[in-house]
Subunit: 210 residues, 2 copies
């Protein structure tokens, strides 16, 4: 049977492999690293927040839907018109999603600690999703979201405004992600100070924050 | 100290009081009743799903925002134009929200049972939010959501289409709520059968489903 520590080690290897091949969200590494530096936490399948355009009848559908645009950092009027020019099969949904972090914790105390940290910096839709061999799965989620029905013939003024508001919302999500990283890093620094320099916490997965 | 059973009794009284004064969502009573009929569950502050229009810079903000329209069952082109005619202070967001049910369970086994029931009928964003005197708080939530930025001068064709899509999404939420009610009622009926007619489950809060 795989131990919790082995799952954590494998998850860390995978993140670094994904990072190397460019598969990881471009701005998510530091927050993941911060969680790994907590002794009893590690992360899996997380998202730093993104703008996407989905061709689907209903915006939450995965079947019968196509992602026609996706970017974690930027979005322009040109991007928007590129998509619109390709035509619509079902409906086009412009979706801005805040960050979603999945944390596996070793025990319930750590799950509640992580939940508290996250809620304090605006991850208000966070909760415990399940319990399994990998640990207690905690989802950290903000209320940052836009799900806008795009119409085919979009005047330029409207396109500009939509892009502007989308980026504003994306950035609100990034701010919250940044605040989460800060507070998690701080929590690790505090634990280290409490436990002293030669603490056993300073293992392979305990990254010193300097 | 108030016992879990007393919290449940108080919650049930409150729901019936709210129902009488018209404060309860018009189509939520049956699903709440179904949860109360599970021996180890009760509900609090839930929503059957609704369409609202919010005047706010950002759609998730509670401060500096005004709810200018809210309905759990219907929405018309006239409703939409009524709102637009009143003018915009910040931005107008047309929000369609699926049902959100908050269940307090007596123990973790029940919390996981409720989560499983809910996930099986499409409440995929469900999780455990917290633990306190009232019980284990489980939030049951779907992915049903639209958060659309309204523009001030809306052509009638576009208004019609928006209302149509909003109602389609609202109804998808209601369908899921209905499926949740069915599966919870069924779970109670099954438990009753297993335990026999003279079961101790058949207490004040165990409503027979016929």
């Amino acid at each position: 049977m795989t131990s919790w520590e082995e799952y954590k080690a494998k998850a860390w290897e995978r993140i670094n492999r994904d990072k190397e091949i460019g598969y990881l969200d471009p701005d998510i590494y530091d927050i993941l690293k911060a969680f790994f530096s907590r002794q009893k936490s590690y992360t899996q399948s997380s998202c730093s927040g993104r703008i996407s355009i989905i061709d689907a009848k209903l915006p939450w559908e995965r079947r019968d839907s196509t992602v026609v645009f996706k970017d974690h950092l930027k979005f322009s009027v040109e991007d928007l018109y590129d998509v619109l020019d390709k035509g619509i099969v079902r409906r086009l949904w412009l979706i801005v999603q805040g960050p979603i972090i999945h944390v596996y914790t070793k025990d319930m105390e750590e799950a509640l600690n992580v939940l508290k940290l996250a809620r304090d910096v605006g991850f208000k839709h966070s909760g415990i999703l399940s319990f399994n061999d990998k640990g207690i799965l905690v989802e950290l989620r903000t209320g940052v979201k836009m799900v806008h029905l795009l119409k085919p013939n979009l005047p330029e003024e409207e396109a500009k405004h939509l892009v502007e508001v989308s980026l504003e919302i994306l950035n609100k999500g990034k701010e919250k992600l940044n605040n989460l990283r800060n507070i998690v890093e701080l929590s690790v620094a505090n634990d280290s100070m409490k436990l002293g320099e030669d603490s056993k916490l300073d293992t392979k997965f305990h990254y010193r924050i300097s």
